[in-house]
């Protein structure tokens, strides 16, 4: 049984102009101990997907029209509020793009870390943890993320730390919960490239050590290459391709993925392609069938009829495209 499995998710938003049908049958699977990447461009629905999994979507404008998200067999969408809170406390943890938003500016790092540890630990072990225990665990958590001088950092406020250090604090917070699944939504996008490198390496190490499963969401192909084992490519509300990471990056099959890979500037200096013609679809009136068909150079009549299912193009490599129908 997969650790996390989303099936046929349909989510949309109610707005002035009408109903935005964003997620159009999203399916994604993360196995125990596996590291999965989710890449897609702005507006493809990846943040909506993460928010739906964590059940933090603002429900008045947002509506879940169908599908299920199974965490260890139980449907997250149908759980009680209390069960979801427990889920967030013990099982699933998250790191977000902007550590400034994730950290409370009014409290020191130490206070926040201690609170989180007390919240997630207390009750599970049955016994109460002493203050010293908690303190020690906080320091250890910070040290593990490669933070220099953790004792001093505990007394600092988030605004006194650099971006890289703040993100390390967020990682410490997330991983100290000993959760089974880590959701990382663009964790290093706002960081300098040399710092990003350090943080990703550290994350890699820690996740390896603890055996945590990871779902990493990003728009950067380079970042997923080193950190993940399997990759999903998302476009306009549904998954278009999935395979082992290196395989997918080296041999993309879906026309969208191919276009994307051609647009990535290469260190080897081949020049930059013209990108993909057209724009992402308007969710008010999305294209029928495969949502990529208006921009696709291989479009066929069947593409407009129904959204294509995943077809196997190679071992453990699937693309949602009628080109691979047989």
């Amino acid at each position: 049984m997969a650790l996390l499995e989303a099936k046929d998710l349909h989510v949309g938003y109610r707005t002035f102009e009408g109903y935005l049908h964003v997620l159009n049958g999203v399916k994604i699977e993360v196995d125990e101990g596996e590291r999965v990447g989710l890449v897609g461009e702005t507006g493809c629905g990846k943040t909506t997907t993460v928010k739906t999994i964590l059940r933090v979507l603002p429900m008045p404008p947002a509506q879940v029209q169908g599908g299920e998200i199974l965490y260890r067999g139980e449907d997250v969408l149908r759980m009680s509020a209390r069960a979801v809170r427990d889920l967030r406390r013990r099982e699933i943890t998250a790191i977000f793009q902007d550590p400034l938003q994730a950290l409370n500016p009014m409290f020191t790092v130490g206070t926040q870390l201690r609170d989180i540890l007390k919240d997630s630990m207390g009750g599970r072990d049955g016994g109460r943890l002493t203050k010293r225990d908690i303190e020690k665990r906080c320091i250890v958590a910070l040290q593990e993320t490669g933070m220099p001088d953790p004792e001093r950092i505990m007394t600092n406020y988030p605004s006194q730390l650099s971006g890289g250090m703040r993100q390390r604090v967020c990682i410490a917070e997330a991983l100290s919960r000993e959760a089974r699944l880590l959701l990382a939504d663009e964790p290093t996008t706002n960081l300098d490239v040399t710092i990003q490198d350090q943080i990703l390496r550290k994350l890699d190490e820690l996740v390896d050590e603890k055996g945590t499963s990871v779902l990493m969401i990003t728009h950067s192909m380079g970042v997923v290459r080193d950190l993940t084992q399997r990759l999903y490519v998302m476009y306009a509300g549904s998954m278009v391709e999935t395979a082992r990471t290196k395989e997918l990056l080296a041999r993309p099959r879906h026309p969208y993925t191919q276009g994307l890979m051609k647009s990535v500037p290469r260190l080897t200096g081949e020049g930059i392609s013209e990108g993909i013609p057209g724009r992402i679809p308007n969710y008010l009136e999305p294209p029928s069938g495969c949502r990529f068909h208006p921009r696709c150079e291989h479009v066929m009549p069947v593409c407009k009829e129904a959204i294509p299912p995943f077809y196997a193009v190679d071992e453990d490599h699937f693309a949602a495209c009628y080109l691979y129908r047989s």
């Binding site: 938003y13 707005t15 002035f16 935005l20 603002p58 404008p61």
Partner: protein, 298 residues
């Protein structure tokens, strides 16, 4: 060429219409805001058409009819008559006229200078210009409003005009501060920098770049302020410092009728209710405006 200009004009118009339609959609999500707007429109129309829709327009001002004095509400006099025989309903409607007029004039006089000064102060943030403007603002704000209004009207002869003038003088500092807060944060936005770097004049930057971004809080505050101004005006006339009798002023009416409570309650209660309703309506509209201007997050 003509054709192009026409197409351009129509397209701009279409865009404006669309913006209004979207604004209305957001506003109308809240039924209370719509109610407030309806009430305001009704009051506004009533005030504007007062001489034509009230049963006894002549009784609004100087008029006496001691035979009819002190009559309770009835079919001929919806709100009864006051102690010198004037129809309370008519006086309330005319009273609205003066209250709304007060609000409009005060805000008209007070908001514009406040906004302009706030824009200038925000743009010149960190320089002596800002210091001079904002410290002056601080001085005005340090004086309790009612005291200042009292002082001014007491110095000058108490009448409606001076009352308006006094309150207007109280009002500009709040707008100056409000706009200063918004404009000083706008100052560092790239589009303002871009205009500067292009060589645009300061006037252009203040009024064409920054002001449109300040309109939301200004308009919202203006609607909420209308209620406060009306109340302040009523308070001043309640203590006799505003419009003098026989001008039908809601505050004066409440004061006069108060002497006759609880027996001839209609003389006080109806004007008081009228004040409450108009202020409430403005507040509801202000809330609705805030919803319209709130930035959506999708």
């Amino acid at each position: 060429m003509r054709q192009e200009r026409k197409a351009d004009f129509l397209a701009s118009l279409a865009q404006r219409r669309r913006t209004l339609a979207k604004g209305w959609y957001k506003y109308s999500r809240n039924p209370l805001s719509v109610l407030g707007l309806v009430v305001l429109v009704l009051i506004g129309l009533a005030a504007a058409l007062a001489p034509h829709i009230t049963p006894y327009p002549a009784q609004a001002g100087a008029y006496t009819d001691f035979q009819n004095a002190g009559k309770p509400p009835s079919f001929e006099h919806f709100f009864g008559t006051d102690r010198i025989g004037r129809d309370v309903f008519t006086r309330v409607v005319f009273g609205y006229r003066f209250s709304l007029l007060l609000g409009i004039v005060v805000l008209g006089l007070g908001v514009a200078p406040g906004v302009v000064l706030g824009l200038i102060a925000g743009y010149h943030r960190g320089t002596w210009v800002e210091a001079v403007i904002m410290r002056t603002t601080d001085v005005f704000l340090a004086v309790p409003p009612l005291v200042l209004a009292l002082a001014i009207t007491a110095m000058l002869t108490p009448n409606l005009l001076n009352e308006m003038f006094a309150i207007a003088l109280l009002w500009w500092p709040w707008y100056c501060r409000l706009v200063f807060a918004v404009s000083s944060s706008l100052r560092s936005q790239f589009f303002v920098r871009e205009a500067e770097l292009s060589g645009a004049s300061e006037a252009h930057i203040l009024f064409r770049e920054m002001l449109p971004n300040c309109l939301a809080p200004i308009l919202t505050k203006m609607t909420l302020d209308m209620g406060i101004v009306i109340l302040l005006g009523a308070s001043l006339s309640f203590i006799g410092l505003g419009a003098q009798p026989p001008t039908p002023c809601l505050g004066t009416m409440v004061a006069d009728g108060a002497k006759r409570l609880p027996g001839e309650w209609w003389g006080t209660i109806f004007p008081a209710l009228a004040i409450v309703i108009v202020i409430l309506a403005f507040n509801l509209v202000g809330d609705g405006l805030r919803d319209v201007f709130a930035v959506e997050e999708v």
